[in-house]
Amino acid sequence: AQRVTQPEKLLSVFKGAPVELKCNYSYSGSPELFWYVQYSRQRLQLLLRHISRESIKGFTADLNKGETSFHLKKPFAQEEDSAMYYCALRDLEYGNKLVFGAGTILRVKS
């Protein structure tokens, strides 16, 4: 069965420090992976998707099929990055539903 695992409930870093939010998945086919972000008192929104291979707000994520991982990285954290981050997998066998991980709270301290 498809599953997304985010091992860290909370990640706390200082401003300017590198950030890596971990995401591992299990999926039998070719996965499509996403990172969603939810800032305080805002709705869930797409941050980036692996097929775009783009950097958004300084964040990047590379799909590693060998390790079944899709970790989110940023070289220098900023206070405004503090938010809840969800890794999600699109289940291509069943339309467009998303399977989410439990989420990681990122706190960037000044």
Binding site: Q45, N96, K97, L98
Partner: protein, 116 residues
């Protein structure tokens, strides 16, 4: 333009009561999704519509849950005989199409349901 909207934003009900949660998707979006998010968890898929029909309802937990989208736009999630375990945030999302191509899901603010 306006994003996905959901009403009510909060709903408190008593065990055993019936509730309806409404979702207004982005205009022109043919696909609509319902997710449920319990405390400390990520959103969990319930059902999705392509147009008026439910294309996948495999996430509905039991027959107390039902959703409709009669005109292919607004959707209503209906929960009968609510139980305390139904307490969660119910999220709605819409996308332009359901498969391939541009399919980003845009989420609403959610409805927080509390069953006493």
């Amino acid at each position: 333009g306006a994003g996905v909207s959901q009403t009510p934003s909060n709903k408190v009900t008593e065990k055993g009561k019936y509730v309806e949660l409404r979702c207004d998707p982005i205009s022109g979006h043919t696909a609509l999704y319902w997710y449920r998010q319990s405390l400390g968890q990520g959103p969990e898929f319930l059902i999705y519509f392509q147009g008026t029909g439910a294309a996948d309802d495999s996430g509905l937990p039991n027959d107390r849950f039902f959703a409709v989208r009669p005109e292919g736009s607004v959707s209503t999630l209906k929960i009968q005989r609510t139980e305390r375990g139904d307490s969660a945030v119910y999220l709605c999302a819409s996308s332009l199409i359901a498969s391939g191509g541009v399919n980003e899901q845009f989420f609403g603010p959610g409805t927080r349901l509390t069953v006493l």
